[in-house]
């Protein structure tokens, strides 16, 4: 149990008089509160969903009051393993409790209370963020009118958990991990985190996208016949791994992957997802991407089936995209048309 916690959040647009235009954006594994725009003093730091959110964009901040936050346990300003435990005056490290999607949604509901928002117009997220949006509809059915679950799943498959566990093992077996208390040793388990990210990154792309972007392209004309970098894809993955390991906290990464693994609302209903969604009241938009094999379209269709069973209002689109799981972050005309059409309808509910 944490004695107290802080959440960092950003808002865009203006909350209307009756506070009916609020949209909560839940982030995925490596996301944070900076979802759109850039800072005056840091114009290169563009929000991770800037293609989707902003003035005139599908989630139009001229109509909606958009909130992005960093989840509890994250490493971008909200209380997490890297934060100082006021009782010990040292970073929490290994003593930071495991948090679940349910915990996150509870903490998000407390944030909503602070902001005086009784009901969100919409709660939206991709991947792990989609799970949080779904969880909102179960934990606080009256507090959200529309739930948008994009490239998400009602629970992970064994294969998906397996990927997470390899990623965790890379971190846990890094000699610099020190059981999670690496901060006090003045090191970070960068090798493990880098490997974890490299593996993750492969699973977020599709075979075709990788073939298109890199093929068997070489960095120089010849094979080196060594273990140095030969292929462009090696160079790309190592670069991505290094970049990620330089700013992300390994304990946060462990915690986020565990939250993914544990999420399973059907578990307490004898694995009956239909029963799990019986309490939901929101309207839903479920989207998946054709080449996403980490959160495959059939996982989204399982959500849709449970929503249909409960006679909830739901639309589902399967977006043709070559970019695998990462598609949900990409600029894509049809995907954005669907989102814009859906959000235009939501906007009509409170401007009318």
């Amino acid at each position: 149990m944490l004695p107290s916690y802080e959440l960092i959040y950003e808002t865009y647009g203006t909350l209307n008089k009756d506070k009916s235009n609020a949209v909560l954006v839940c982030h995925a594994l490596s996301g944070h509160h900076h979802v759109a725009g850039y800072y005056a003093d840091d114009p290169k730091n563009v929000g991770w969903w800037d293609t989707m959110i902003g003035p005139g964009k599908p989630i139009d901040t001229q109509k909606f009051f958009v909130i992005g936050l960093n989840n509890l346990g994250g490493c971008h300003g909200s209380t997490g393993p890297i934060s100082i435990n006021p009782e010990t005056e040292k970073p929490y490290g290994a003593s930071f409790p495991i948090v679940t999607v349910e915990d996150w949604v509870k903490s998000q509901a407390q944030l909503a209370d602070k902001l005086g928002i009784n009901q969100f117009a919409a709660i939206i997220g991709g991947s792990l963020g989609g799970m949080q949006a779904l969880q909102w509809s179960l934990a606080y059915p009256e507090c959200v009118r529309h739930v948008l679950a994009i490239a998400s799943a009602p629970r992970l498959t064994a294969q998906n958990i397996a990927f997470n566990d390899v990623a965790r093992n890379a971190i846990l077996t890094d000699p610099n991990f020190y059981g999670g208390n690496y901060y006090e040793h003045g090191v970070v388990p960068a090798r493990g985190l880098r490997l974890a990210r490299m593996l993750g990154h492969i699973t977020y792309l599709s075979n075709d996208a990788m073939a298109d972007k890199f093929g068997r392209g070489l960095r120089s004309d010849k094979y080196s016949y060594s273990y140095d970098i030969d292929f462009e894809i090696e160079s790309y993955l190592r670069y991505q791994g290094d970049k990620f390991a330089a700013y992300f906290d390994a304990n946060s990464y462990l915690l986020m992957t565990k939250a993914l693994d544990y999420f399973d609302p059907a578990r307490e209903y004898n694995d009956d997802l239909n029963k799990a969604f019986a309490v939901a009241r929101a309207n839903f938009l479920v989207l998946s991407f054709t080449t996403d094999w980490r959160f495959a379209p059939e996982r989204s269709r399982a959500i849709v089936k449970a929503l249909l069973h409960n006679r909830l209002k739901v639309s589902y689109a399967e977006i043709t995209s070559t970019h695998g799981h990462d598609s949900f972050l990409m600029q894509h005309t049809h995907y954005h048309d669907v989102m814009r059409a859906y959000f235009d309808n939501i906007a009509r509910e409170f401007t009318a």
């Binding site: 089936k305 249909l308 739901v314 639309s315 589902y316 059409a341």
Partner: protein, 204 residues
């Protein structure tokens, strides 16, 4: 695009009014191959139905959402496995039957998922179509607007053909409405009707 006046819609698609007349208020409806969602929007207005559309085309998915019609993207040819048995009062296949490849299993699926099925299709036995054939050409008309080389219609049939099909597949026809334009045809329907709408259920 986003708003359709009921009376205009009924005039351009007379089968809509025929279908609406059969559907009681508050019924649950699944519209297969729902296009831009016009029929469901119409039925939401006339019969306060609770409905979903199924549509394959990206463009129509966006159109349905703009029409405030719930739509599930999917391919009818791969069946209705995403839908539970007896989930709907009515499953509708409006002006789509003739373009389906696996017509027989799809008709069976309609009656698995719904209590009753409603199908509308262009009557290939309509006299103008027969005339075209006699003159040596494939029919092209308002209800069959395609040339032989670009038509999506792979399973055209006449009223007789459809009724035989239902009989052979143990489906009983509950009602039929045959039309040419917006007038109902009662005399020699297989010859004088250009479109037909049927309501049917599993024969017991």
């Amino acid at each position: 695009m986003s708003t359709h006046d009921h009376s205009t819609l009924a005039a351009t698609r007379p089968d809509f009014a025929a279908i609406a007349a059969w559907i009681p208020k508050g019924a649950s409806v699944l519209d297969l191959g729902c296009g831009d969602g016009s029929l469901l929007r119409y039925l939401q207005g006339t019969s306060k139905v609770q409905g979903y559309g199924v549509e394959i085309s990206d463009e129509n998915i966006v159109a349905c959402i703009r029409n405030q019609v719930d739509v599930i993207q999917g391919d009818l040819e791969s069946g209705l496995s995403g839908f539970e048995s007896n989930a709907f009062d009515y499953v509708i296949l409006s002006q789509t039957l003739q373009a389906t490849r696996h017509t027989e299993p799809l008709m069976q699926e309609m009656l698995r998922v719904g209590r009753e099925g409603i199908v509308s299709f262009p009557n290939f036995g309509y006299w103008r179509n027969r005339m075209n054939i006699l003159q040596g050409n494939m029919p092209v008309s308002e209800v069959l607007p395609y040339q032989w080389y670009d038509t999506p219609n792979v399973h055209l049939c006449t009223l007789h053909d459809f009724e035989t099909f239902c009989h052979d597949n143990k489906m009983s026809i509950l009602a039929r409405r045959v039309m040419t334009g917006d007038s109902e045809i009662k005399l020699l329907p297989n010859l004088l009707g250009s479109t037909a709408v049927y309501r049917f259920k599993r024969a017991v």
